[in-house]
Structures are given as C-alpha cells and as structure tokens.
Symmetry: C2
Subunit: 332 residues, 2 copies
Amino acid sequence: MRIAIDAFGSDNAPFPEVEGAILAIKEDICEKVILVGKEDELSKELEKYYFDKDRIEIVHASEVIFMHDAPASIVKKKKDSSLVKAIQICTEGKADGMISAGNTGAVMAASLFGFKRIKNVLRPAIAATFPTQGNPEIILDVGANVDCSPDNLVQFAELGNLYSKFIFKNENPKVALLNIGEETTKGNELYKTVHQRLLESKIVNFVGNIEGKDLLRGIVDVVVCDGFVGNVMLKTVEGAAFSIFSIMKDQIKKDWIAKIGALLSFPVYAYLKKRLDHTEYGGALLVGLNGIAVVAHGRSNGKAIKNAVRLAAKMAESGFVEHAKEYYDNKI
Amino acid sequence: MRIAIDAFGSDNAPFPEVEGAILAIKEDICEKVILVGKEDELSKELEKYYFDKDRIEIVHASEVIFMHDAPASIVKKKKDSSLVKAIQICTEGKADGMISAGNTGAVMAASLFGFKRIKNVLRPAIAATFPTQGNPEIILDVGANVDCSPDNLVQFAELGNLYSKFIFKNENPKVALLNIGEETTKGNELYKTVHQRLLESKIVNFVGNIEGKDLLRGIVDVVVCDGFVGNVMLKTVEGAAFSIFSIMKDQIKKDWIAKIGALLSFPVYAYLKKRLDHTEYGGALLVGLNGIAVVAHGRSNGKAIKNAVRLAAKMAESGFVEHAKEYYDNKI
C-alpha cells in the first residue's frame, strides 16, 4: 500500500508527519509513504533519519492550510496546498489513501471535492474510534454534519456497520443510537424517527438506544449520532478524563504519602493513559467517500501519525470503499 | 422554610427520603419537612429515629409513580400520588418548595400542572449543578426540552443567569453556549442563531461558546444548551468518570504493589470521589416555574436527599422565583 501524508497539517508540522512516515516504513505498515508539502523543509527534516530511500517520496506543494482558512474556499484558493495535493495523488492513482492532521473541516471539504461522494451516499461522516472498557467503538458522525435528516443518520448506521465489519472484523456489529434514554419513545423528533427507521432496517443489527453513561463500557460496536451531538460528546469525554487527572495530580502534589502511593501505582496510570490515548487509535476515518481519507488529531505526535497511516493502509487493504460502492449502487 | 418531600420517588424509597428528612432537621437546613406518601410505611420508618416530632409531618398519599408511568397522564390518573400531592401542598401555601427523586419527566409534568409556568416563560428547564475543577457550573437544559427554538435557549440563558446570581451569589455570571468550537460561526443552525442572539443580549454577560473539553474546567458560571445535548453530555461525563475508575480498579487488583500504592493514595481518591459525587449537589432545579421543585437522582441516598432539601430551602429563601416573575412581567 502507498499512503500519502499531508505533511503540513499538524500543530507541529512537519516534524510529527516526517517521524510518522519513518516509523510507518520501519514497522512495515505500508510499502511506501508519500510526504506532501514544501520540498526543502521535508528534505531537511528527512536528513535526520536513516531509512530506505525508495520507500519515502516527497511531492512538492507550496501552500499550507491554516486553521482560519474557510474550508469551502480551500479547493479554489489553495490548489497547491499539501492537503489538496495529497488527495490529488490518490485520485490520480499514485497512492491508495491519505492522512492529514489538519483542520477537519478543510480535510472534509477537500476530500469531497477530490474523492467525491460514493453514489447514493447523501453525506459522508467522520467516524471516530473510541477507547472503551471493552472493545473499541466506532462513533459517527463526530463533526462533519451538524444539521442532519433521518436519512443521513440511517446511512451513518449503514456506513458504521460496514466499517466495523471490514476493519474490526465484527461479523454482525451491534449498532446503537445515541439517545437520552433506552426506551423507544425517548429523544427529540430526529432521534425518535431514526430509532423507528433503524428498527425496520434489514441491514443493520440495531440493538436500540445507548445513553452517554454507557458509551465507554464497550457494549456495542457502532454508535450513531449527528455531528453536533457527536462532537460535543467526543470533546466532553476528552475533557472529563483530563479534568479528573488534573484534580488527582493537584491532590497528589499536596500529600507526600499519596505521592509515594502514586509512584507505586504508576503502572496503573500508565496503562490508563495508554488506554485513553488518542494517539493509539490513528484518528478518524471519513466514510462515504470514493477514497480513503483519515483525519489525525492536530496535536498528533509521530506515533499518532504512524497509527493514522496504519488505519489508512488497513482501509485500503480491506476493500471497504469498493464494498460500500457496490452496496449503495445496488441499493437504489 | 418548610420543604415537602415526595417520599416515594427514589429507587429505594422511602428509606433515603426519611433519612434525608431527619438529617435536614438535625442540621437545621429548614424548619420543617413534610413527608408525602403512604402514612403507615412512613410512620414505621420514622420510628427508627429520634427527632423533634414537631418538625416532621406526614401527609398521606396512597399512590406511587413508577418509571413506566407516562408523564403526561400522571396528573389525571394519579391524583393521590406522593408527587402530585407534594406539589399541591406547596401551591396551597403549606410548604415553600418540594423535592422528588422520582422520574424527572413526571416531576416536570406534575410541576407544570401544579405550579404553572411563570408568565412569559416559554418552557421551564432543568438546571443541573456540575462539579468542576473550579467553581460549580450551572448547566441548562439537561433534559426537559429535547426540541428547542432559539427563543427557548435565550430564555435558558436568562434563567441560568438569575440562578447563578441568586444562589451562587455571582454578581455578573459568565454565561456560555455549549458548542463544537469557539468561533462565532460554529455549530448547527439553532446554535448559530442563539449565539448571535446572546451576543446582542443586554441582560446576560455572554462570554461566547464553550466546548465539551472545557466544561469541567470551571471557567464559566452558566452553560446553555438544549435538553437533548445537555442530557447526553451530563450522562457522558458520569459514564466517563465511572469507566476511568473501573479501568483503574481492575488494574490495581492485578498488581499488589499498585494495590499498596492505591492505599497510600487513598485520600486522593476519596477527595476526587467527593468532588465528583452527585449526592453533594442536591440535584437539579426546575427553573421557569411559579414554584420550587428540585429533582434528585433516582439513586439518591439520605445525604443526597438532605442536600436536595438544602437546595430547595436556599431557593425559597433567595427569592429567585419572585425575582424571575418580576423580570418576565416587566419584559414583555
């Protein structure tokens, strides 16, 4: 597999991107990595590493997309940006998938323009993988579509179902709808309608509503929600974990016995940190597109970029996109 | 102050309710508690305690509301329920406020019927108090209104503002809108409209959007959202904390050195537990009603009930309802 990396996406670009590329090659995650961005900077950065030169290629792109760039205008105004070019490399058949740690809205806009939607898919979604007490959970949409129709959410359920089947090898994924109660009658108009539609679905193994309190228990495989609720929820979990650790840290500092205790319990904290670490999960996949685009966290380090490359390579190998195309071609 | 307790609301009713009543009297939180429910059961339970008999009264109510009772039909079908009667006692002037640990939807429906809305308030909201790294935060709505208009959310901001002023004595509360990004242009149609409306508000000190990741930092006083998002978010925080502790516990069990460490760090865990403990906060207040109704957690213990009584008494003393009435009378 050949994966293109938008090398100027992350907050500390291009360092994590270059390190991630090196790690991906060394760990044989893919055959080839194409780093897209300012050639001089990338060459200079690559000089720091010892690696197989045949397996990392640089493709020059003169422009960089910033957080304040309006996603809608990027494709027209920044044609020579590392993001737009990384996608172009894929659509020209020179790479099998791409990753970016840049502005999610921009990645979605550029991907829609470059890859295009799969025929009959109304709107692509961002599917995040969530660490839980049990198996990882796919949650979608976590931010691409803030105003959704019932049709959108039903499609997210179908796309999440395929994702879980193809990537996590779940034969019959348990698909749940995020809601404010388990009962069928719970939720706002949108969620009540979607609940009924999913109950009637012959494709998706719908197991009912799931509440926020059960999200991290790992009892389902796919959680469906609109992009507004999904994004609020994703960031709330991130914030809750952070705040809990902060309160603990402050207290440990105040008490030397607790400090010794914390040192002895260190493996527990390390394990927990690893379990909740976003860098382990390789970012979120844009599903519903005619190609493979993975969005990594803006604060990604080399390991996170490497894991994003792994996810993109896994997706490309799995045939997920081809299967989704076939599915939606036959459906309507 | 005289507070009525729906003594058959909680999961373990009437034990926590009776214990809470006793604690409230012993700690002089209010002058009198009126326990509403089956007289024989309550008398029998009260016999276990030694207390000033003049300060706890029982008012008989023969019926109990269950989780499966449809909120809308309660007022007609269960007129002699402990919930409906506790509210009636208030509207007849025999108590200054009431609390219930029962089904939130039922409490809202019965309160709307009994207390009525404050004139010009479109919809009452449930305002929860959130423990944070800093000062407690009021978040509303957390479940009463799952489909909201911009007018609803603007009123929630005003009601939250009053709540923070009257109960937490914040002179100029910082009011934020829950959203998926800090920028003015972020959010779905509803939230973008509300953001603009709040920017123009002359009453509320609107400090902009707040993201899920910053909710527990305690950097604002009031967070506004619709009841669907608020409820998902509230339960997500609860679940995240629970899952983090579960993962830690499982790991600690596996490693005897970590076990000793955890024992030494015990005060830290105890502090954290207390900080995140819902029983400390006395439940959520229904705001926008012509009366005082507090909803406690279904899993409340005696302490949680006592703290709910404290919140109801504080509200009654503060003149919050009268002030809100005056405010909305003059406004339109």
